[in-house]
Subunit: 219 residues, 4 copies
């Protein structure tokens, strides 16, 4: 029997395993593409107001910069979590591929609320609607990342040589921001113009590891 | 004789096989890129009406959300079918590469009818033209996916260790939606504003496996 | 000595070879990305005229469809040629990487003349300028594809197991369209509105192999 | 113990090494995606002035062409440097992944100052603000490329078989342009309309190797 080609040598031995690993490779490639495009499209939402001098215009654009950096760092953080998840999964099944699609749907939707956030930062009434709307998309991203990992663990997709303590530690590290998002959305209803800075702080907090034990478990 | 480098170890032994497998790898990479970009560009078609309050505007955008989700799920479903096809093909020949290009042409065209669908959902006369136009693009996608698989089977590109029952089962699973699309296009001529919901239902039906036998053959 | 990781097992044995092969892999990934994006951005250039009924508008858009299909098929053809070239090269050197960048510069520029072509097809005076402009970009693409292959052959980058007849046959197949482009540009100066159809015919001619000997040498 | 799948065979033997190499592979894929998209989005910034004849319009667009080519070549140069860096690193750690994200943030931001540069080239007052703004983004790109390499060397991520002379030579080659950028930004404050040409000259200087010793160390 001629064995089919494989991108990644598999731990298991049956054809199914190989097939799943090939699928994981394409899931990663497709996801990397969507992450890369969504993160790069954000810049298209920045544009100079027509009726101002360029110097003043560049300064009045600060809400666009805040929204750009916040959305960029958030997608960057989701991408980092995604690489962590696929590192520890030895295969992808039908449900995981669909959870992944749902995550990508939210990732590629983000440029839209990101533009709204930039446009509304100078208007408290608008911001009161847009800031929670933006926050809910971030929350959905966090929930879907966490759901992918939890599903993978429950469905036995985690590679066999990962020990239990590591697996639980990853679970904790993938969901710290969920509570912060809920709080930020609530604050955004009262102090809407503060919310973008909170979202940016969360993105930075996720990206910049402070805990000293950070290096030991790798991210 | 120094052997050429190869990305995927091949089952066969002659240089041609290796060459074809390398080509398959690039066909997958290029296709993943086009799928990822088309699915992410969809968000650029969503934009708030200028003359409305942001709260009301976000609500009146529901046709854009429907079009966005429908097109996203449809491209996602085509991508899943595409990964299934390339899983079972051990090589790509000249004709398959061109069928693949035709499929990608339709995939990357979809953001245009998708925007039209969103814009016309509030106008029955416009929708009567746009809904079938959008449906025809979805139908073309379905036909091309099915054609790629059928051509691959006939041309002997299926990997040798796949058994006949599996191959026939995949053929059935890759074309269930064709009839639904034809029916939805016909309904769209009479009840045009219903059509987008039908297209979304088809996309969900393709993505969410209901049949209990689903897990045994994997997708 | 610990060997560095490698994506593609190399025919040669020294570290340099491995390094070059890794570079080839990234050149392919980056190029596939640019090809995929350029080919997908084309759809953004299609937009319905504001002041017309949607039915009539969809029909008056035919120049956009012609430009879209022509540019899509042209980029598709360049991508196919590119996969053929990288198949036969066992490594990439500094000059080849720069020739590749020049090719990608032209590929990613194409959406601009493509939009102009669509806009000018209803105005003979405009078309007299735009059709040759578009044609020159296609000609530049053809010249750069041909230059990459010729340089690779001269610099000894072709994999050692490729025989001379094959190599010469590829050289011929990569440059057939150059003369056609020159003729089409000339015709475009006299009959500018005919030129887009000629460019489309060339793209189809490159993509659809007619010659019976086609299958023997593979593309 | 079943070993986890791996994309790149690793020099080391422990699981961590494999994990890191897999991560490097995804860092490269994601970065290639962002580079490819940013370089291709540049063309969207070129658009013909509405109120001019197409022939004259194409000529008055020269500032757009200058900005397009300059930004394209700059991103192309950064991509080349990036491939050189990842070639010599055998793994990626948490800090390197974040430095890489910062680099990609700047890369994907470039289309915005690039469009401003094109728009301001006909207005000395605007150019006096935009030219240094654009230059600062280029300088930031250069600094981040250099920082990635320096960090990689210090953190011991360089592959063990790279000799010291090579490593130092790469360090020199990755940072030559920093001084030129500072000088160009200063000149841009006095002669703003000259600055774009200086930036283009730097990009060409980085891309076209003149030094005769160039071929021996490879890029």
């Amino acid at each position: 029997m001629i064995r089919r080609p494989q991108l990644r040598p598999s731990g298991g031995d049956d054809g199914d395993d190989v097939a799943r690993n090939l699928r994981t490779a394409r899931m990663e490639a497709f996801s990397d593409g969507v992450f890369a495009i969504a993160i790069t499209l954000l810049v298209l939402e920045i544009s100079l107001p027509e009726d101002e001098s360029i110097g003043h215009g560049l300064l009045t654009l600060w809400p666009s910069y805040v929204a750009y950096v916040t959305s960029f760092l958030t997608i960057g953080g989701v991408w980092l979590s995604h690489t962590l998840i696929t590192e520890y999964l030895s295969s992808a099944d039908a449900i995981l591929l669909r959870l992944n699609l749902a995550l990508l749907l939210m990732v590629s939707f983000l440029p839209f609320p990101s533009r709204l956030l930039a446009e509304s930062m100078n208007d408290t009434e608008d911001a009161r609607i847009v800031a929670p709307f933006y926050g809910l998309v971030l929350l959905a991203l966090g929930i879907l990342v966490s759901a992918m990992w939890r599903y993978g663990v429950r469905a036995g997709l985690v590679r066999p040589d990962a020990d239990d303590i590591e697996v639980r530690s990853i679970g904790r590290r993938l969901s710290p921001a969920l509570g912060f998002y809920v709080v930020s959305i609530a604050i955004g209803l009262l102090l809407p113009r503060l919310a973008p800075l909170l979202y940016m702080a969360i993105a930075v907090y996720v990206l910049v590891p402070i805990a000293s034990g950070y290096r030991r478990t790798w991210t």
